[in-house]
Amino acid sequence: MARRLPVFLLFCILLLSLASGCARVQPWQREDLSDPIMIFDENPIEKGIREHPLDYREGSSGGTGSQSGGCGCG
């Protein structure tokens, strides 16, 4: 079990590295990518509003593209 995390991390890095070698999208091909619905956490304020109460109902946090700071993490 202890090995799962680094293995998964390496797998993801490898996956992204391979992906980057397969495609290089030019700036003029980014119309779809620039759509707000394609942006991860397009509104980080709302993301925090939604996610933070869950931090106090579940024992996990992190790994979702934003980091909480401060209190209540115990």
Binding site: L5, I13, L15, V25, D32, I39, I45, I49, G70
Partner: protein, 399 residues
Amino acid sequence: MGDFRRGLAIWLLASSSLLGQSEADNELQVNFNGYFDNFRVHILYPTLSLTKKIGASTRFNGRYLVDAITAASMRSRFEVDGVTSATARSVDGVTSASQRAGEDSAPEATWDEVRHEFGAGLSRDFGRGGTASANGLYSTEHDYSSKTLAGSVTYPFAKKNTVIQIGAVRSWDLSFPDTRTWSKAKDAATLSFGITQVLNPRAVAQLDASFTSNKGFLSDPYQVVRVIDGYSFRTYNTAVPDRRFRNAVGMRVNFKTTSTSSIQVGYRYYRDDWKIESNTVHAMVQRHFLDKGLTLGIGGRHYTQSKAYFFKPSYPSVEEFMTVDSKLNSCVSDELQFKLEIQSDVLKTIPILSILAADNSAFLADLDLYHRRTPTPDWFSRYRDLYAYILSFGWRVRF
């Protein structure tokens, strides 16, 4: 339950604004948010956020949040070493942990705690598309204070097909309950790493990893543990290890399925040295209507968690570590999310909401329905099932 009184921390490292989708230079956003659950925890937490360009490549951001909390557990009295589990000396309440929420007579009309949070920071562009940011945060309430510093660097490579982000957060908290004679500190340090990768003209993926070290007072000062010995029992403060190492890694992919819609799917794995291990999967579908004047989204999330190695629903004898905190119990949770965003052009046509229709403005609304089930009842409410909803209305203007 008492964790809410420590407040709702903020998200200091946001990994948006990647892939050339630069953040707005000037933006004001106001949100009115509420959290309500069947454990009788009610929170209202309006937020005000401002981003202002203050130089050719520098932006200032400021934030203010206030949250007003009422919770049945805050009004209860469990005697521990001569003091109560209530958060304030003046609180009246009940004394039985076996009493269900809804059976005590504490009035609901007033807020039990109010917290204020102030944040400020700077972000600066550098090089060919890089951004560096630094933020500070101060949070205060009658029995808790928190100071946080955060910094992050984001830089694109390969014609912005790959964006790397590295961040760090450091916080110093102090707990000083009215009903105790001590004050105790907690420190936290987080390192995070993210890669966003364009897969093709219609798909983008992101990997996030975070590593957090907590040390100090990691317990809840108000929760109490009952040690039952035959027909009698004694109550004790909770006791948990004073160190915790938390690791999480998540990956998500966003696909543009049609010219007006997208689907995002993701997975997160988490584990820590308290033996909590969790798996989270989520998906979100979004679609534009009315020439992008209206955007709707619907999403779902499924979460499973194992319990901390020292968690027990009840303790037959005193142990070194004891906690009854439900978030350290094993659980399964599900969430359903609805999103709505209306741009100013459409806002103008809607009665009442039309007053919000300034240029480049948007009305935002979110509704989250949440259910968590634990195998044993919660220490205070005595319920296994937590039902909650989070409601948010916001108004954003870019200028």
